[in-house]
């Protein structure tokens, strides 16, 4: 899928869900986790990831803190309380959207 435009609309949901599952992550770690979970099919570009992270931070859904790792500053992101509540509604939104897409495009889930 790489950096498909389809991904843009769900980027915030992906970030929020990953942070819910992983407590705290830094930018590079998020891109690698997405790559790992999708077996390399989905690649987040940092040009899209960082603005999304900064927007979520400004909206109060994420908070950041710095840690010194190998003599350099590493910025970690984690969910705020408000962010934690937002994950559920974002996931429900995504679920409803996928169901609607399936209905409109007549998509059938692929057999494993």
């Amino acid at each position: 899928m790489s950096t498909s435009p389809l991904l843009k609309g769900t980027l915030q949901t992906i970030i929020l869900k990953l942070l819910e599952d992983n407590d705290q992550m830094y930018g590079y770690e998020i891109t690698q986790k997405v790559k790992e979970l999708t077996a390399g099919e989905m690649k987040l570009t940092e040009g899209a990831l960082y603005p999304a992270l900064h927007k979520l931070e400004a909206d109060g859904l994420l908070e950041t803190f710095n840690e010194i790792v190998d003599n350099r500053v590493r910025k970690y992101y984690r969910l705020t309380e408000q962010g934690g509540q937002e994950v559920t509604s974002k996931l429900q939104e995504a679920q409803a959207f996928i169901e609607q897409l399936q209905a409109v495009l007549n998509l059938k889930p692929q057999a494993l």
């Binding site: 930018g27 590079y28 940092e46 040009g47 603005p51 400004a58 790792v69 590493r74 910025k75």
Partner: protein, 222 residues
């Protein structure tokens, strides 16, 4: 790939020349180094490897400016919105009581005490954001010479200096362009206008201090 001290120095110089804010500098620096450390050893030189990562992950060194501009816009809008909300809070209960009391006191003081004293009070209050910003700038300059300014610092500087600019624009500058004593705001203005002016600078400065505390996690001495 193993990264040497010289490689790190090269990356630092590259980013120092192409990045405006410390937040971007830290984030991109850590990202590129982490990415390169996870790559297997090859014959590619480190500068080439750094460029390749910056190109593939960020769309090139030139794109970093765009990334920063977007971030600055988000941070600026967020901080200004917060200050505006704090200003509005002085016109809602419970702070409305403070505002009414302050306006009444200034209205009374405008006739009861000398206008020079009022000018000094309003001047001190109006310039306090600029002084706070200047002090922070000095501390930053002496403590962290090798750091770039942060986006928050830039936005807070702009908000802090606006108070002083407004004061200069409406109170200090006009007399310079009017002969004799035809424009002496604090001497001639009606008490109500003095009260409104004082109220504006009080509310602006107090909301600035609240935003400053939020953004830099400062606690005022109790």
């Amino acid at each position: 790939m193993k990264v040497t001290h010289e490689d790190q120095e090269y990356l630092r110089s590259l980013l120092w020349l192409n990045v405006k804010y410390q937040e971007t500098y830290n984030e991109v620096y850590d990202h590129v180094l982490t990415a390169i450390e996870e790559q297997p050893d090859t014959n590619v030189s480190k500068p080439q490897a750094f460029d390749a990562i910056i190109n593939s992950d960020f769309g090139g060194i030139g794109t970093l400016a765009q990334l920063e501009a977007e971030r600055a816009k988000i941070v600026s809008s967020n901080i200004r919105k917060k200050q505006w909300q704090y200003q509005l809070s002085y016109f809602k209960l419970p702070l409305l009581l403070f505002t009414v009391l302050l306006a009444g006191s200034m209205y009374y003081a405008a006739d009861a005490i000398s206008r020079k004293t009022i000018l000094i009070i309003v001047l001190s209050v109006g310039f306090s954001p600029t002084i706070i910003v200047a002090l922070r700038g000095m501390i930053r300059f002496f403590n962290r010479k090798h750091q770039k300014p942060s986006i928050k610092d830039k936005v807070i500087e702009q908000i802090g200096c606006l108070s002083m600019s407004l004061f200069n624009l409406f109170i200090f500058l006009p007399p310079l362009f009017v002969s004799d004593d035809n424009y002496m705001f604090f001497k001639q203005a009606h008490a109500s206008l003095i009260a409104v002016t004082a109220l504006f600078f009080f509310i602006y400065s107090l909301s600035f201090i609240r935003v400053y505390r939020d953004e830099f996690k400062m606690q005022l001495a109790s």
